[in-house]
């Protein structure tokens, strides 16, 4: 019977292997045909031109930009909210707030996308200029979307810090806030870092919300109100209509995204093993 359990445990290895094999088999030939450098370094994406160009450099940059924006917005709010939930929140309020942050994670991304399109895009257009569908809009919505991840993981990291750290600081005369920010937060550093990395993964991979609000121009934005097109948006926008090399190039775009995610998972592992070593 142990053998059966062992086999089920191998399922996840098999799944990752099959996913890798199928994505790479379908993506690598396109990269080879287009030329790896032209594909990753190319700035022109014009699949319906003859001759066509397939360069995804601008989209890689856009994905990084949007993710960075989401981190700038989501991380401070997320970590501070986690601190509030873990150390400051009155119990009755906690009973409401905690499920609320979890509910935030349950809202389907398509709903976030339409919310962004109906509310945030017009707001940016009226107050910051441009046409609204922009880097800023995508970053704000993604910032909200990664909040539950960051809050959840950071909060459990904060709660894992022994109470004696906090009491020790209080006993030395520090205010409550000082005790929290100078002892508990530093002690939970690796957990909070893990939360941020997880958030980066979420933001990088989000599709349905981004495609509606980012404007999807294939360009490197020079202002926050300029539009951009992420890797995920490129796949979901054009996958359906594509044939031949165009379709393979989109799968190759997925491969590039997949490699990014793998890098993030690896750094996640590194953070974890480091925190296990240190304590």
């Amino acid at each position: 019977m142990q053998g059966v359990f062992f086999l089920t445990a191998l399922a996840s290895i098999a799944a990752v292997a099959v996913i890798c094999i199928f994505l790479f088999i379908n993506g690598i030939p396109a990269m080879a045909e287009i030329g790896v450098f032209d594909f990753i370094g190319g700035q022109k994406w014009a699949p319906s031109n003859v001759p066509a160009s397939y360069g995804i450099f601008n989209m890689i940059v856009a994905s990084v930009y949007v993710t960075a924006g989401a981190i700038v917005i989501g991380v401070p709010i997320g970590i501070l909210t986690a601190v509030y939930l873990a150390r400051f929140c009155p119990k009755p309020l906690y009973k409401v707030l905690k499920p609320a942050t979890e509910l935030l994670a349950g809202i389907p991304s398509i709903v976030y996308g339409f919310f962004g399109l109906m509310v945030i895009v017009p707001f940016i257009r009226d107050n910051f200029g441009g046409n609204g569908s922009s880097w800023l809009a995508a970053s704000i919505v993604l910032g909200i979307m990664i909040l539950p991840t960051i809050i959840g993981v950071s909060e459990s990291a904060l709660r894992a810090v022994p109470e004696s750290y906090y009491e020790g600081a209080l006993a030395l005369g520090a205010t409550k806030e000082r005790s929290v920010f100078k002892t508990i937060l530093p002690a939970s550093k690796s957990g909070v870092l893990a939360a941020v990395v997880l958030g980066i993964g979420r933001a990088l991979g989000e599709t349905m919300a981004v495609v509606l609000i980012a404007g999807n121009q294939v360009q490197i934005p020079s202002r926050l109100t300029d539009g951009l097109r992420t890797l995920t948006a490129n796949i979901v926008m054009e996958m359906g209509y594509s044939t031949g090399l165009h379709r393979q190039a989109l799968i190759a775009t997925g491969v590039v995204l997949f490699i990014f995610i793998l890098l993030i998972t690896i750094s996640m592992q590194a953070i974890k093993s480091r925190s296990e070593k240190h304590g």
């Binding site: 059966v4 501070l80 509030y84 942050t101 909200i144 000082r178 979901v236």
Partner: protein
Amino acid sequence: MADKNNAALIDDIKPINKVTFKQRMLSYKRKPLSFVMLLLVALAALISAAALVFIIVYVLVRGIPNLTPELFALTYNSDNVSCMPSIINTVVLTLLTLVIAVPFGIGAAIYLAEYAKKGNKLVKLIRTMAETLAGIPSIVYGLFGMLFFVYALGWGYSLLAGAFTLAIMVLPTIMRTTEEALLTVPDSYREGSFGLGAGKLRTIIRIILPSAMPGILAGIILSVGRIVGETAALIYTYGSATGYATGFLNSGRSLAVHMYVLTNEGLHTDQAWGTAVVLLVLVFAINTLSAFIAKKLGTKKG
């Protein structure tokens, strides 16, 4: 009884440590930075909560007026754009996904928690792979599902392709929560069972699994939430046919995909918002159920 006495005792001690409002304000006056931090922390929590309330109120305000009886008509046609078939399809899809994923998830968790030796290289690999799976974005699952199940295996857009794709997607969630639940079962249970002469398998099935059940259920319900809200992974696997998917190789659309298609066509925005409300209510119900079961687990433990 002992608990109550303890609580009373703590209540007696508390006044000694009490900081009055005045004292607190005084200390803030001396350390203005602390006060600023307090404000920032409260503000952040406020923003998080406000974001949620704003989004939900917005969807409800736009959606509730559109919750008409026609939206829940038994058969779909392009006038009523009923979401009833897609609700049923979502239920069927969810069940099938769970039938595929749960045995694998629980089996793997049992292996990791009960059989595997600590520090085994293979175990480490299994965990790493499960975490990799958890990190893969749904659009990549969609691409993979399309390439593998739909084209390579020739299933076409079908219930089976959608369910298998989602099963891989929720596998790590079920694995992790089940393993955590198994690990919280005290060793004394195992020892007691062994002591009475039960074998390992019997112990696992009769003793450990039942006591870990609330945790396992909470994990499964969490997965249900993910399945219900999924769009990107389903468009290219389950497809978007409007009727009831009556066979394994039939295509259908889940509720989230239904909403996506409605908004995409641009002819039924009102109904799309109504569908969004249905989705939110479903997700909310699933969350509450999960929290309720997890709470049951919590009280049992403590």
